[in-house]
């Protein structure tokens, strides 16, 4: 581990200013469950680590404008156990509980989960300089890629590992980004950007910006949602493929629907074609299969991850049926 300085700003403005003014490579620390590991293993280096823990107002879940605001420093366990969140957004609770282990949920934060770095095993090897780390090659493309992307890879085939992001996007969440010039709000779906935009990061945060909170709109009448996570072992596992479905159901059909997949693309991956194929039709296994067929036309599996195509079908079917 290289030496680094640590800063503990006491206000959001101070935090933004520190990030904006920092001439050294600065890294934000929320729960630290992953960042510390990255620093120790040498995957990441930082001249300055900015600890968000002392900034007031970033932790907690509050009712706001009919919906819920979830502070970036809210611990995952607090989200999983929040009564209002559990009542209004069962798929969000499901996702929070499916993530990592109790120890990691106690320490890890919602903001950290949404801004986490990829688990690609080449990226995580301190000896490998891949495209994401400023190199020229994606080693996964022709290498070992059973956990890698089947959608949206563009010179980098990581998958975005978050469980919370697909669900929050399916629920129409908005991200509040703190900047030195004040807050700005973006739909969470637009918060993420694939390798074609900037291969070295997974979201649109510019220098000096940080995720402050997310706001989830209140449930609409007839809103249904579900989250299905397919993994290899029972716990402490990232999704091989996950599916978040949310929408409004009337007479056995979705009048509105969002389908967002995890574990399949460098960003949470919206299956627009599946949404279109499902919207307005009475839900049946045949209809879901057709929707999956449509969406999977865009899939580009590599040598070792073709099985994810089958998992997308299974996850989609299960999530849609669970939601309805």
């Amino acid at each position: 581990m290289r030496d680094f300085k640590i800063a503990e700003p006491r206000t959001a403005d101070e935090l933004a200013a520190l990030l904006a003014e920092s001439t050294e490579s600065a890294r934000l620390m929320a729960g630290g469950t992953d960042l510390v590991d990255e620093l120790k293993s040498g995957v990441a280096t930082a001249g300055l680590v900015v600890d968000m823990d002392k900034v007031p107002g970033l932790r907690g879940i509050t009712a706001e404008k009919g919906g819920l605001r979830i502070g970036a420093m809210t611990r995952v366990v607090e989200l999983a156990e929040d009564a209002a969140a559990g009542r209004d957004y069962p798929s969000l609770k499901e996702a929070a509980l499916s993530l990592a282990t109790p120890q990691l949920r106690n320490a890890g934060t919602v903001g950290g989960n949404l801004c986490q770095r990829p688990r690609c095993w080449y990226y995580r090897d301190p000896q490998v300089v891949c495209r994401k780390k400023g190199g020229f090659n994606c080693f996964a493309y022709q290498g070992r890629n059973k956990y890698h992307a089947i959608f949206g890879g563009s010179g980098c085939f990581i998958v975005f590992p978050s469980d919370l992001a697909p669900v929050l996007i399916s629920l129409g969440a908005q991200a509040t980004v703190g900047t030195a010039k004040g807050d700005k709000v973006v739909p969470l779906g637009d918060f993420y950007a694939g390798p074609e935009v900037d291969v070295t990061r997974e979201n649109v945060l510019a220098k000096g910006q940080f995720l402050k909170s997310v706001w989830v709109p209140g449930p609409k009448p007839g809103q249904r949602a579900a989250y299905v996570k397919l993994k290899e072992r029972s716990t402490w596992d990232f999704a091989l493929v996950s599916a978040a479905v949310a929408g409004v159901v009337k007479d056995g059909a979705f009048t509105e629907i969002a389908v967002v997949m995890g574990g399949v693309a460098p960003v949470p991956w919206r299956l627009k074609k599946a949404e279109d194929a499902l919207k307005g039709k009475a839900v049946s296994k045949a209809v879901i299969r057709q929707a999956a067929d449509e969406a999977l036309k865009d899939a580009v599996p590599m040598r070792e991850n073709g099985y994810k195509v089958d998992l997308v079908r299974a996850a989609l079917e299960r999530a849609v049926l669970a939601a309805i």
Binding site: F139, Q142, L230, E232, E317
Partner: protein, 760 residues
Amino acid sequence: MNSKDYIAEARGGTTRQAAKPKPQAQAQAAAAQPAAPAKAPEYKYIGKPTARVDGREIVTGRAKYTHDIKLRGMLIGKILRSPYAAAEIVSIDLAPALALPGVMAALKLAEGKVRYAGQQVAAVAAVDERTAEKALGLVKVEYKTLPSVVDWERARDAAAPQVRDDRPNVGKLNEYARGDVEKGFGEADVIIEHTYRTGFEVHNPTETHGSVAAWDSDHLTVYDSTQNIHGVRDGLARAMKVPAANITVIKNYMGGGFGSKLGANDYTVAAANLARQAGRPVKVLLSRRDNAVCVGYRPSSSQTYKIGAKKDGTLTALQLTNMASGGVGDGDDVAEPAVDIYRCPSCKVFEETVYTNTGASRAMRAPGHTQGAFGLEGAMDELAAALDMDPLELRRRNYSTKNLGDTGMPYSSKGLDKCYELGAKAIGWERRNRRPGEGGGTGPLRRGIGVATSIWFGAGVPGTLADIVLYPDGSVEVICGTQDIGCGTRTHMAVVAAETLGLEPKDITVKLGNSDYPWAPASGGSLTTPSVAPAIRDAALKAVERLKAVAAARLKIEAGDIVMADRKFASKSDPAKAAPFADVYRDLRRETVFHGERGAMPMDQFAFNTFGAHFAEVEVDVETGRIRVLKYAAAQDSGQIVSRLTAESQVVGGITQGLSAGIYEERVMDDATGNPVNPNLRDYKIATALDIPEITVLFADVFDPRINNLSVKGLGEPARVPSSAAIANAVYNAIGVHVREIPMTPKRVLEALKRKEAAS
């Protein structure tokens, strides 16, 4: 590795007969081994559940592991390892590292070629970890990289880079033949032929490898995380050119080894050399990454079985070809189950190993047998399906009471039939699908039940020594130079001594884990209990004889009239005549040592083996390829069980490891970087507590006085051998297609289902 070589190595080659007498203690003349009883005696503690005598130490964190050792003035040593799978070392410059304040020693550890990523190149010792780490970064190594190959299938190509200078990439490992297989296949009504593959399983003990070396004048003391204190001492003596008498190796507590800690390691030698150079103790601990690259793993296998049988299931011919890979070292010979478990008149084996630019494999919990059981038992189940027979019936029909593969001698005891019976009853064998995949199930879930068999060695090592020391205050010490690698050796030592002396296990002070103590073999090969327990029993019986004579004089009765129980000596004919134990000890007036030895067994007349049958019930999701093990029953023939709780725990561990290797664990190598992509516990997935089913552990309790004076056989490896295989066969029974490759990841299960779909 050949499993017999492994056993021979664990046995420590020639055994030493004499132990150092304890100073100022009266040495007891070695008596002839008393004859074993004709049937199992009624025991008070042996075979009964006894809480671990060191359980409190362990769970309260007071037990000191090698990682916990802190000596005065101790330095931290770190090892620089090659990032390249093949390279020529042009130069190593230690000067910049030595110039860093706080760095006290540095060594070059390689010259010429490095042949795998993770190979030692240089080492430093510094006042603390941060300084040592920094110094490592300052060592200047100039490499000239060479072409390498880490993919064993590619390594077979003629165009692949040659891994070892002394031989081609493919070499013969093992060849065996009996009878005429061509004739056998000619007589067969049914012949099946399939290939089964096993991946690279990393030992990953909780406690990573490590050593602390300290010199006191010309005496070297090493605290080592090892399964073999005597072996490490002898290996260090050779490597350091120091007399073995000047080396002491200590290991008190250990967090697992599974075969990866059986000898003296290069990092231990480095620690000793750094310590000598610095004139201060040095501690070298390996990292989790190191565990994946430089201290071994279970080699892969690709086993093709061709088996012929008559309509009634009688085997006529069995042919096995195997391609193993163990990196720069040899792969495992996997043939033992195939040549020995079933009574097949003809059998032919040909095995090769493929060299690659990865670290050498090491023995891992039943080397060869674990892979072989997966292949053979999978093939037996596919044969049973082809014959439309109950897989258990097929196994029973070909039951062998002789060691056909090697000596042809009868097994001294074989309780496998009893294991089949006990396990089948516990799992509810009659509930299985009559034919594989026939059962159906709700939605995408399919259930199935499978069985697999094990054979292993584990009779123990004659010549193992142990002492019992009686002190004048009535306290008792049992001393043996064995090591408790986490399995409960301390507990069984206390149980045997207490049982024999009429005391309670808690009355016994257990000493082990020091190479100055009487010789015992490596804790590998399932040798520990059947070696150590009989030696202690022998010492304790000698103590009993002596004490009874002393007590007889005191009580004025015949020694033959004395019963020792409940911490008392009492007359059988007149229970009023009794004396407390402590009083009789006092009559000895001084501490007294009784030497015990594990006696010989009639190896020229009988084969001595352990057996077991495992049964698993699984549920498979045919849409996601996910396997859940619902229920498990394991029945073991390990002779007399000494300490029931730790024995059960050992079996649960073997099943857990087999489940984990069967479904999750696999080191993935990358040819482009020459390194594993998952040298950690995140992507190298090990089963969690939530993945482990309800487990029933059963013991066949076979009595065999020919083995040793307690009828004890080993258990550690037998518990692991058939566990992946039983689960794979249950999956076959559930979904109607054998996955034929472990780990059975969702990817492989889905691919197998596609194979089935394409075939129908």
